[in-house]
Symmetry: C5
């Protein structure tokens, strides 16, 4: 997850500025349908879209990838999209938002993608006018394949409804991508939790940190979507949105809130894991210290004792100079004292509950 993923112009630049994008790689797919007819044209040229837009049928234009400034300008002009919105589509990394008026609805959403241990969000921009829906999705793969299949195979009500129902279907898809992501995260957290009780190496620490960081960033990116759906629901007198669509959007709203709450919970949980880690490291240190203390303590007095009888005081000159060295059982006595010392200390530690 990148910390900063917003494209922006130098402060003071004219609003609506589109930088020429040298590396633009994108494909435009067009679906024109009503209850009876379904016409799919893949990889069309932007200029051919205009005639379909003006037809009575529902028209869905899906732009996948990183579109060029020229294509965006053309699409923007044909559909009357405000230049500020066109800029938002190009400058990815926008905050999710919705702009509603009686003729147009413009939405920006973030689609969470989790591949292995790396995560990112793709920006999905949706633009709805009377009979036309244009969707833009960054990233390599079209996330709406399941919707296209439903359109093609007449599954559900999609073909019978207006383009606002298609809008709902796309929003629903974008939001529901949160569930598989959350499932993956829950498995990662579970795995870390299990591992934590076993090993405590630094790799684990950075895994927890990375997880927490990702969840924090994902949460920030997805958080405003709640407000976006809310605002759509409040626009219940907008002529573009029909009652049936609003009913379904309410379901969507539940999902958004559910996902946000889980993200919140997971984030809190990884903070708990970090703390658990810290505490269990301290505990380990405590164990090691205890072992060292006991071990050292047991050997220090005997070592001192044998040092005493390694002194070279000469008994020849004085009867008080280490007479023990001449005693018959001196050596055995030393071993006896050592045994007593060790026994005493073991008893002391046992009483202190250190062993």
């Amino acid at each position: 997850m990148k910390l900063f993923n917003k494209k922006y112009h130098k402060p003071g630049t004219r609003p609506g500025t589109l930088k020429t994008n040298e590396n633009a790689v994108f494909s435009v797919d067009l679906y024109d349908y009503n209850a009876t007819v379904f016409n799919a044209q893949l990889n069309v040229d932007v200029s051919t879209c205009k005639s379909f837009i003006e037809s009575e049928n529902c028209t869905w234009i899906h732009v996948q990838g990183d579109p060029s400034a020229e294509a965006m300008k053309l699409l923007g002009k044909d559909l009357g999209i405000h230049e500020l919105y066109v800029e938002d589509v190009i400058n990815v990394g926008q905050r999710p938002k919705v702009e509603i008026n009686d003729e147009q609805i413009f939405l920006i959403l973030n689609l969470p993608v989790k591949e292995g241990s790396s995560a990112r969000v793709d920006q999905v921009s949706l633009f709805l006018s009377k009979t036309t829906l244009i969707s833009f999705s960054t990233g390599k793969n079209n996330p709406f394949l399941a919707v296209i299949e439903r359109l093609e195979n007449k599954i559900g009500k999609l073909r019978k409804q207006q383009s606002d129902y298609l809008l709902y279907a796309l929003i629903d898809t974008v939001i529901d991508f949160g569930f598989p992501m959350l499932e993956t995260y829950s498995e990662q957290i579970q795995a870390l939790e299990d591992e934590l009780m076993e090993t405590k190496n630094e790799r684990l620490l950075s895994s927890i940190h990375e997880l927490r960081r990702d969840l924090l960033l994902i949460r920030r990116r997805l958080w405003p979507q709640r407000e976006v759906i809310n605002e759509l629901l409040r626009a219940d007198d907008n002529p573009l949105l029909q009652d049936n669509t609003l009913l379904h959007l309410r379901d969507c709203h539940d999902h958004v809130i559910s996902i946000m709450e889980m993200l919140e919970t997971y984030h809190e949980m990884t903070s708990g894991l970090m703390e658990l880690y810290l505490t269990s490291v301290s505990l380990k240190l405590n164990d090691v210290m205890k072992f060292l203390t006991i071990f050292t303590t047991i050997f220090i007095p005997p070592t001192f004792l044998v040092g005493v009888y390694g002194m070279n005081f000469r008994s020849e000159n004085s009867p008080t100079n280490m007479p023990e060295l001449d005693w018959q059982f001196g050596y055995l006595m030393v071993w006896g004292i050592i045994a007593l010392m060790i026994g005493g200390m073991l008893y002391f530690f046992r009483r202190k509950k250190w062993i």
Copy 2:
């Protein structure tokens, strides 16, 4: 407590999709009653319900377990339940919610279950129309046995009232299951608190962590119920809900808030326990360190001293080479010095308040 317990379809799937459930295990009980008549039919077939639903009497259909897609479709069609709600009943792990209109009320609640050290939530879905209440409860055991007994034995007003009062009775039951759960948690916290002062092993640490985790998850699952009851209370002009029922629901609302506040408090308290644990581990380490320091310190200088008189400098060649070894009371002097050293250090440590 599982981190992720939501059933969901692949993003982009048609709303209202019901997967065929191979492992469906469920039983349908039907209770048809008015002030004078009480008719209980256990383990009925879904198809026989329709005639009761259409009767004037209050009808309560309780579905326990994991119902099959076919049964749900049939029930849904007979009662005019929206396919989105039917999907919510099947895809357990939903966020508690309520959908109200003048003819129907649809509720999803979470029933907390605590068995020994493991906890979980069961989803309870309630659907109320004019004379019929359908309840769905996952889990193995019917949580509403006490209500059935009240119905059967004419305890209280249950038989005299409409089906909305039955709805209240079920909601009240689901929510009140929070109290025994909280009581168990309070005992666990109390036990951990007591144990913490005695032992500090890693098992305790993971107990605290697990408790905190459970409380976090439970809180997230139960939190939205507050909003659900609130919304029911606000629907005071709904023809399905009578004044008496609303009065009782207000009592329910107090319970919900009370439970949430306790969960909050308990969660905060387990965080405090974790911190207490960490601090007391540090304290222990400090004690151990102090002991090691004192013990080592007391033996290091004497050991050095006896090492000195273990040197082999030969006095034969030089009167300055270790004349002490020939002194009459040299050996006793060494012991004297050692005694002085140890005494001095003990005094120093006593002054430092280390012993």
Copy 3:
């Protein structure tokens, strides 16, 4: 402070159920007064209350202790108290709440009691109708002695006003019990703060923990009282509440908020104390480690050196085998080297600012 102090019935039990209370110990005092007459009857029987309730004078019935189910039922019936409220009075541990309608006001408050190091809350339930006030207080001692004295001795406006002013006087008393409690807590915190700088034993740690725990629990119990007083203030068009009473209740409201803010502050402060404790334990450990390091370090090299000259290499066979042992000033040289070593290390530690 007990973590869980709520009495509750098994989930699914009929609302309004009153369990027969074997250990009921309670006394009923009755005060009947107007501006000129004051009639106090202590330890009356519940059945004698009815005639006073129906009189025109203000009647205050105070029930102290744990009333029996029968007494409660009788009182409830005489005064028309809803069975749900009767249940709340018996099942102590309720969340503070208020129920208002034009004929009755029902209040539950928590009275904080601090005796030595233990704290608890007593439930005070108040029921006001046109001319009658009934108060229930758990615990052993009547908390309203000062109010009774004011009534008896005609201090202030109590005798001249309606029973709603008496209600205010009782609420005010219950809330003001927070101030002596807070004063005691502030002294405890202050004492702990002072002690913390001196000693760091485990008893202190558990004192801080207990204090924090108590403050957390007390805060939760008292928190809703703010909302309760607020709701009373908003009921400014209720015929039972007169303008003068509302003015005084506003003063009460300030006290409630003031107490809550102090509790909040004290709780935060004890968290700070815990952290301070942890940090100062670490600091102590650091000191001890430093001492050990320095001490050990100073003796290790000399001990090694004297070990060297305790080796038994024989110079007889080889002039390179420990010729120092035969040097005239060998022994003194060793002491010189030891002095140099110790001096050098002391200088090094001084430069490192360790001593």
Copy 4:
């Protein structure tokens, strides 16, 4: 900063009770002015105030110190101040609040005072009626000297405006005392931050703790002032408050919020300092441990080696008993091995990046 600074009566005491204050020390100053006349009477008797109050001129009575119950009663009666407000003036330690009606405005504010390392708040009570303003300020020194000077010297609009503008001037003064306090705190935090990087003794720890504690308490005391000014601003149709005054009060409101935000930030910052302290103590401990490890490790193996050659096995009896002791270069060899050992360990530590 004292934790608990509220004066209160025993719970149950009659509202409006004024205890006789034996230690009352106070002075009453009276300023009577209009655009042309300015009449200052210092240290007047309370009884002489009445005639001025009734005059048409603006009258400002300032009571500095701890007024006696009698003086308060007299003032209260002359001006028609409610006995609850009179009690609030005497029982200092009140929460800031405002009571507004069309004839009177009563305000309690807290004036933060920072003298050296100790801080406190003084209670300032303001009472405004049509032509009269009475201010009470605890503490020794009159905080309004600058306002008196402006009045005397006709600086600004003070003399031309009504007494509500004087009220604003006093409120503004009280609030602006927050800025020098914050400046002093910012310098203390800065100083602690700088010092932290150098030394880590326990005195620093208690300084940080005390600072955090003070900021917490000050914040609690000043927090409600925001609401007080807000309520004044909302009373824009009150006949006592003129438009010009409200415009200036809005400026005041900005200051209040600004001060609260800074206090918040400073409090968060001192929490950061505490954490920084803890972390850097751990770091230090780590350094010390590393040093100890390396030092000990370097001497332990050589000490063992010289111990080996201090053994007294007799080679006379056996050619395998310590033949090294008779080798020609045995002693030099030992020194060689020691040099190798130390070199090897130094290399190992260098590779581990410990030195």
Copy 5:
């Protein structure tokens, strides 16, 4: 970032006081334009501005630096700016705010500046009347060069619109300066994160602390801008603000929120880094302790053993006095025991997973 950067007067000073500023360094630039004419006058005298202000064209006066009290008074009088606002421009360090009426809009914004590792905010004050915009910017460099270029070169709609669109352009510029700042911070956080896994010295610790501190302060300074833009948006019926400008301001609002959310996230992230640091220091300490324990433990028993055979008990007098010293393979046996000891301990540690 300075903790306290507010200029303020002594409490009690007259509102609107302007201190004579000895070190005033400022330049006044004037731009007078309409769709066809563009007239730029750099470094003009304040007194010459009046004629332009009164003209019909849009007039933009930009004051860069620290203006003198005299210049401010003159400008204030010519434009009818309230003396409180004039004071706010001079006393930099104000909280962002907006004052709106039908003839004037007065704005204070904070412009974040990040140069290398140091950050600060410059105060930008904007004053809009019908045809005139005056901007004040502290700091050395004019932040609006890009806007001037757009004006000069007729880029976008700036020349065709009223002065309120210019106001928007300046606000947009001020706010967008947040993006490069955030980008720099994100890089710093990333760099710290990478470095943390490698080294753990105290310099890193103070870097993290400084970063967190800066983010905290920046956040506080920028936070109110959100409210400022919000209030402008709510003033949609103000005659000074045209619909097109409001549409663009809404875009601005998104940016403000986006920046605030990122600051929040970054601040949380640096707190996470601090915790990570602390944990990884503990981990390191644990490693070091383990090494010390193992190393010491391995050498302590052999050292004791060789001490034993360094004792001087004389076998001459007693067969039990150290007969081992005379054994043929005594010395080899000692080495054997040592090898066994070391092997045993290594096995023990391996089993404990310490090596």
